[in-house]
């Protein structure tokens, strides 16, 4: 019965929980028998189920090159996420997916990549960054501009401080919004910092995710630096229930973000109603 009920999750186990910030945790989720519960592409999402609280969709932050698990970096913000922040390792939850188009991997091949992330917006970018670093030969220079409100709000610290800066041909530029005791790095907003550093648009693709207001200024900054809308990629977040383009709430015009997105080029977004 119901073999093709798209809405039915499979049971999976939270193997590991790491605290990233005061309100963000990363959850490592595996099948009951071990291994990743589903195959996916960087930029795709999955629905996590926590009965009887409910279900919510999250971007998968691990890279598909890690075959043993899925990782989700989740900010405490609503009923499902509040509940998630209370559970302990070993807890079982439901998973279904993957949903969405993912990043255009073919289009990125051979290009220099500029990642611009803010706060929890690093989560979907991280999947692609680690995927690119695991397939290093396929991509050119990798630059990562990442910032958060305070140093305490930066996520994936091992990677942003150690692993990524050490990777070949890879630069990481970190910034925080406000002066903070013990922080001797850059202070300032991500979009401005990105422009201060300056990136030439030739043979480069920019990929950005963060709070809507940050994305807005990043898009403007990239335009000033000469990036064409086709060279700029972002990934969107809207309320979703089904994940398969049927429940009707995540549309931008005739496109459904859960199915036709969440990854769009800026050129595509310019042709869609700005309801995000």
């Amino acid at each position: 019965m119901a073999q093709n009920n798209l809405l039915l999750p499979q049971v999976a186990v939270v193997e590991e929980i790491s605290t990233e910030t005061s309100d963000i945790k990363t959850f490592k989720v595996a099948s009951q028998g071990g291994g990743s519960p589903l195959e996916f592409l960087p930029g795709q999402c999955a629905m996590l189920s926590l009965p009887p609280v409910g279900e919510a969709i999250f971007s998968i932050t691990s890279s598909p090159t890690e075959k043993d698990y899925l990782e989700f970096s989740i900010k405490k913000t609503g009923s499902v996420t509040n509940f998630l922040h209370e559970i302990e390792e070993g807890y079982q939850l439901g998973v279904r997916g993957p949903y969405g188009n993912g990043f255009p991997l073919e289009m990125l091949k051979g290009k220099d990549l500029l990642f611009i992330g803010g706060g929890i917006g690093l989560a979907p970018l991280r999947s692609l960054i680690n995927y690119c670093l695991a397939n290093r030969g396929d991509y050119g220079q990798v630059d990562i501009v990442y910032g958060a409100r305070t140093p305490d709000d930066l996520v994936q610290r091992a990677e942003i401080f150690d692993n990524w800066p050490r990777a070949s041909n890879t630069n990481v530029y970190l910034t925080v919004d406000v002066e903070w005791e013990g922080w001797d790095g850059h202070v300032g907003f991500v979009p401005q910092y990105m422009e201060e550093i300056g990136f030439a648009p030739e043979n480069r693709i920019a990929v950005t995710c963060g709070p809507p207001i940050m994305i807005k200024f990043v898009l403007e900054g990239l335009e000033r630096m000469g990036f064409k809308p086709e060279q700029v990629i972002t990934t969107l977040e809207l309320k979703m229930k089904c994940g398969v383009g049927k429940c009707g709430r995540c549309n931008l015009g005739d496109r459904y973000v859960c199915k036709d997105g969440p990854v769009f080029t800026y050129a595509e977004l310019l042709n869609l109603p700005p309801e995000y």
Binding site: N5, L8, V11, P51, P52, T77, G94, C247
Partner: protein
Amino acid sequence: MKKIVKDKLPSLWEQLSSQATLFLPVEQDGVVNFAPWEEGDSVNLEALNTVVPPKNVVFPQTETYMRFKVENDKLHIEPFEQNGPYVLFGARPCDVAGITLLDKVFLQEPEDGLYSRRRREGTVISVACNEPDAACFCTSFELEPGMAPGADIMVWDMGDYLLWKAQSEKGEKLTGSVENLLQEAAEEEQKAAMELKERVTAKEAAAAQEMGWDPSGVKETLKDMFDSDIWEQFFRRCLGCGICTYICPTCHCFDIQDYSKDQEGGRFRCWDSCMFADFTLMGSGENPRPTRKERVRQRFMHKLCYYPSNFGLYACVGCGRCVRKCPVNLDIAQVIKEVGGVKSGSE
């Protein structure tokens, strides 16, 4: 073609309900809605439109699809389905068209298994409209009040009898199963039904002509009207009650929720409405459609622009329910007129 004399309808209900759940337009306290037929129900085949369209037969208003149990940190999940063969008798052509529009959403890849199973298990019998009323406008959307191409069986009310025509394999099969109650229709009886059909269509089309509006070009016009001022005037009247979406045969939006007692319960999907403030409200507090303006625009744009752009057809079948029930007369025909869907030569 076959026919069934009306005296035999009670036997038909009995026979059909013995092999499947039989949904009929049943009148209760002056309200007609589709319900599983039971002996003694008052069936009303004359009522033009049921209050709620029969979409709830193929897409139930609430549908539990999963059971769960949480034991400490262990989660048990089981699929749950309450299906079985059914016959939907008496759906009007507009409502059958509504179901075929739902098909496009639910049967497109990835196919919705809950919905497709319900569609496979059901046989739809449509009753032609002999007297559409002033709020009907199916012909404006290229439908015929006297014909439902998407139905498995089409019947026409000819006074003392119903003319009966199977239109699909499922329809043939059901016809065979009640053959004892049917008779062959004479040629002149078939001709009379077809004449009636043409007459009703012509009358309805003339009424639409008189109303002076024509939606055919609106899907293109609306593409450039997202920022138009017309939404300003329409939304101010809207109360956000959502009735238009609940009684619409083509609205397919749904929510998913859990219910539970202790740590055991079920998950269901249920109709939801783009008219509600929390429809797009995210946990973060962001809401891309924060006011009724964005929500009213979404409803009309979805029906008249977005859906057509994805599936080539308008997501309106002209049943007139939203026109009759809207407490503030926010009329889709008026919206169409306002965005330029005016028949050339009128105004």
